[in-house]
Symmetry: C2
Subunit: 669 residues, 2 copies
């Protein structure tokens, strides 16, 4: 909540000086404050935890897909994310704290799942039970859910977000765990808020459990409402796709800059963005005209404080500058203003147009800089602004009175969220919980439907795009059609390096040094034809090499914290030790998942993906010298890899095999 305090203080100072028409001082305070905050956050990110930059949702998504990218959920990342996000949001940038909060939640969860952090001297013994992939992943999913629940005060929305966007595998027990977490968050929030009545917790208290309450507002307008709904849905989908496209381009260029200029580049960029933002936000309001305060309103008008719909800015008393109250304000208040109902014509369409363009531009240039930056809030602001514009447009062209302008803003936000993030149920519920406006549910669903469908025609969701640009090997849900034309042997790296059931330590060391594979088949040479005993992991072999005791307990084999892992280079063995023998069978997974060597790649893919495997052994149906003909890993299923081997498949949409697979015996899930 520090965010609101800093931002609030800065803004109130600025506005005060403006009202005293000491513009230079006001601007220097404003811009200076912003730049200072943003730079500090950028420094933290760039130096201590580069992984903390950006939204964090794609990273969490990647981790839950099975990608153990280093430091994604490390303690340092966590600390930097929190501080950095405070700096960025308070710095007035067009960023939200929602994505970062999701990342933070996941970081905490992962910390717990590692039994605390050795490095920071916090460890809990009882937490070691989480030291396996499944529970750790569940915990991280719950963390993400908690993040959204806290950020939007939307517990159910949080659960759904975790399941729809974050998690790659759903289990009803996972749903149950996520629900449990969110319930706790909800109750905590509720108690905190009820003790925060009034303003004794600053901005935190405002809005209570519902952040942007739109109150009860009749929206029963029959069939006519479909007109604006369809307009909003369509344009939202197009705008969302366009935004995604542009931000993709920006991200690539930024990535290149960072690669070229390194630390300095990152900092300078952050400085530049902060400067531009400050100039725009401070300068643009001068374009807004001064309007006379409407009569008979409850709100203070004109106001110089934090919130308030009617900012005085440079106008004399009795007048307000609508553009100022849309720009020179905290993000939350801007949204609150845009969503506010029964405010026909409160904001002039030109002001809305300016807000739309500026926030669109700022959102584009901001994401990708080395600071924690959430995407939800900017998208909601852009969407709301243009929703109101559409409302004005519809009302002025066709004379039909359908929705309130607030509802237009709300639906606009929904459409842009659907068009850029391509979430449906979760966005629906989050918006519902944000605004407590159940009656608008049907139009909201329709808008989301249209915008998502339209957006999907053009490109992937903004998060998937970030995943792709970051080059994380994300395993999508469905196999590519061309995979039906290949068998597993066409792609898999054969033959694999194998170990014997009773193996010389020296050999193990050599094998480990000679390759970076993580799984090795263990063969038994008892019969004349070797028999596959199972699969042993590199990490377990390293444990065996490191501590050559007679007995190990399962704790030794527990998965180390994310990012950290043992390395063969760290292990020194004397020559006589090299000649010791070890029986690998007790430490071998004796029942690995297998496929026959003529299995179609598509089916192997869905098996690999749905079972969430790391290794998939390929066994031969015909007796051979070696019982195992290969090992499939995530890498082998990546389209880049497959199309690299078979470029001609890129275009090939030949589908005889489609029909064949539809005659398959599988009750595919």
């Amino acid at each position: 909540m520090a965010v609101e305090y800093i931002a609030g203080y800065k803004l109130s100072q600025t506005t005060r000086f403006i009202s005293d028409s000491k513009y230079s001082i006001a601007f220097s305070i404003f811009a200076g404050g912003n730049i200072l905050l943003v730079l500090s956050s950028a420094i933290l990110c760039a130096i201590f935890a580069p992984a903390a930059a950006g939204s964090g949702i794609p990273e969490v998504k990647a981790y839950l897909n099975g990608i153990d990218a280093p430091n994604i959920l490390a303690p340092t990342t966590f600390i930097v994310k929190v501080l950095g996000s405070i700096g960025a949001v308070a710095g007035g940038l067009a960023v939200g704290k929602e994505g970062p909060l999701v990342h933070t939640g996941s970081c905490i969860a992962s910390l717990l799942s590692q039994g605390g952090s050795k490095r920071y001297g916090l460890t809990w013994q009882w937490l070691r039970y989480f030291k396996n992939d499944r529970d750790r992943r569940d915990l991280v999913t719950c963390g993400a859910a908690a993040g959204v629940s806290a950020a939007f005060r939307a517990p159910v929305g949080g659960v759904l977000f975790a399941l729809e966007e974050a998690a790659s595998w759903w289990r009803s027990s996972l749903l149950w765990r996520a629900f449990f977490t969110s319930a706790i968050v909800a109750v905590t929030l509720r108690v905190a808020l009820s003790s925060c009545k009034g303003d004794n917790c600053g901005v935190f208290g405002t809005g209570g459990l519902i952040m942007f309450d739109m109150g009860v507002i009749s929206t029963e307008t029959g069939l006519l409402e479909l007109v604006p709904v369809i307009i909003l849905g369509t344009s939202g989908g197009l705008l969302g796709a366009f935004y995604t496209f542009l931000s993709g381009k920006v991200l690539k260029t930024y990535a290149n800059w960072h690669a070229k200029y390194g630390l300095f580049g990152k900092l300078f960029q952050a400085f530049l963005v902060a400067l531009i933002t400050s100039v725009l936000i401070f300068g643009l309001p001068w374009l807004g005209a001064c309007t006379a305060c409407p009569t008979g309103i409850t709100h203070e008008c004109p106001s110089n404080g934090l919130s308030g719909k009617y900012k005085q800015f440079t106008c004399q008393s009795g007048y307000y500058n609508d553009l100022a109250s849309l720009l020179l304000n905290t993000n939350d208040n801007v949204i609150r203003n845009l969503f506010s109902t029964n405010t026909e014509g409160l904001y002039h369409y030109s002001s809305l147009a300016i807000l739309l363009c500026s926030s669109f531009f700022l959102a584009l240039i901001t994401y990708g800089t080395a600071i924690p930056s959430g995407l939800f809030i900017p998208v909601i602001i852009i969407g709301a602004a243009y929703g109101r514009l559409v409302g004005w447009f519809v009302r002025s062209t066709t004379q039909l009175q359908t929705f309130d302008e607030g509802i237009y803003a709300y639906l606009g936000a929904a459409s842009l969220l659907g068009g850029s993030m391509r979430m449906t149920v979760s966005v629906c519920v989050i918006l519902l919980e944000l605004t407590n406006n159940l009656l608008t549910l049907p139009p909201t669903m329709l808008v989301l439907l249209i915008s998502k469908t339209l957006g999907d025609l053009f490109n992937h969701s903004v998060y998937d795009q970030i995943l792709h640009i970051k080059g994380l090997p994300f395993l999508v849900e469905k196999p590519e059609p061309y995979m039906k034309h290949l068998t597993v042997m066409d792609v898999c790296s054969s033959p694999p390096m194998t170990l014997s059931a009773i193996e010389r330590l020296g050999n193990i060391v050599e094998v480990l040094k000679s390759t970076d594979h993580n799984g090795f088949p263990v063969l038994e040479h008892s019969s004349e034809v070797p028999k596959l005993h199972g699969l042993i992991l590199r990490s377990h072999l390293l444990v065996l090499l490191q501590k050559r005791e007679s007995d190990y307990n399962s704790a030794d084999f527990a998965k180390p914290g994310s990012g950290k892992s043992r390395r063969i280079e760290d292990i020194q063995l004397q020559t006589e030790q090299m000649n010791e023998y070890v029986d690998l069978r007790p430490y071998t997974n004796a029942s690995p998942y297998t496929v026959v060597d003529n299995m179609s790649l598509a089916k192997a893919f869905s098996m690999f993906r749905q079972l969430g495997l790391r290794h998939l052994c390929v066994v031969s149906t015909t007796p051979k010298a070696s019982p195992i003909s290969g090992i499939l890993t995530r890498h082998d299923f990546m389209p880049e890899h497959v199309l690299g081997l078979y470029p001609h498949l890129r275009a090939n949409k030949w589908n005889r095999l489609h029909t064949k697979s539809s005659v398959s015996d599988v009750f595919v899930s």
Copy 2:
């Protein structure tokens, strides 16, 4: 909506005669109407479509788990379900129309997915693309979602219900499809309702999109509220578990009766239930005292009409009988009355106690009779009644003013739903959409959390119990712990019957006649050791036998409608045809899923379950005469079967292998 009309007419008639103190006529009309309606529904069910009896949700759940029980989703079932449910609900029984609506929705979906019904002369060519398991199952899931959306006017709740309770496999594309369906339902409802303003659609219009609107009611009570919340959660969990236990006993006894007395038994039972219900509902209100109408209320008091909180019954004008308005009313109105807020002491606790006992008793004896009967509504009524009781209890014992009585009723309903059906997110959202009461979300979640957890300590959810009693081979999500101690070869029926790649028609007929297996391995005898070519399905073999043309198109192999399937007995072949040969390879699934013969049963189980297989081939790691050592089917994984083979595992909780499996290479999902 016919339901409300009939029920409404009957009730208004009855109440009219009562107010004229012509009690005998009133009762004969009331009881007569009920018995007539219920019997007609029972006759329909018992004679034409036994599958239409009961809630239907367990059946849908079973179908989505991969169980093709006959007639579950047949057109006849559909028609009977609709008519029968009208009869049952209008007959004043303690049943809801929600479960049946879910079933109905799924039936429609399945009808579409079969490309219409040949028997009823409705067929659509373009729908044949759904003729495969996956799309058909998705469509049925969407149907279930639509059912809930329509029943509760809760679109999002519908989606979540379909995913949390109905579906066994989740895919984000499935989520998307379900959302699409619900959105359409929502918009349709909205338009229908906005054209139904006022009462020009009878009871349908009332409540608008929100059936039991509780309006905005402050519930900010700080920490103190945890006291009633915990009481409600605990008792709800216990009561729910108790209810589940009893209804299980009742179901078993009923099943025996039906088996013993057949059709007559079913009808007599229905008659009896209808009679008892009528007697109770008509007689009990006499126990209620006449209370003077409160002053300064908007509602008509006393009223004789359909709805209304203040039923006159036998009281003189100016007085109302609170018990009558809780019993002698349509289910929806009863709930509306119980949920109504700011009604401190409107219903005397004795009346509530009577309502609680009677509805609990009626709900128990009703479910299991041969009529379509939903569980949601009765459970909500019981829960609400006892919630209000708890509210009265808390207020009278501890003097703390926490919630409104309406909120107590609401939370009570939530707790009982959680305690009996064990759903969390979906119940949460459904209740939210039913009552438009977002502020109570945190306590609701907490209540659900407690009640579900408590209930799970005692028994399975009421739906799973019904599944079990019906003896449907439902495949649960997690393998039983003892499965870790077995390998696949311990349970699987080896050796399987195999076919050659080029096979004599005569042999095929013999094999099909000699066994009821549905999948047969196809072996190639080209090399000296036979090679596994793949797996062919009985159904496809039957197609091959039936139409012995040179070429087949994939449509021939499309899955026939649920319930219907070709049988070997129907196929007659001449002797010379018997000696023809057919090349099975083009029709064989050349890449079946396989496991090695030393694979642990637990891992095979999760593979079978997560991939949603029907057959799983067991291949041997050591070269043998036959490359395939067995085929695993759903039957082999059923605890009944496994424990039948290894009874000593029943108690055995020995878990050395637990640790071992935690050292496995699998990034288990």
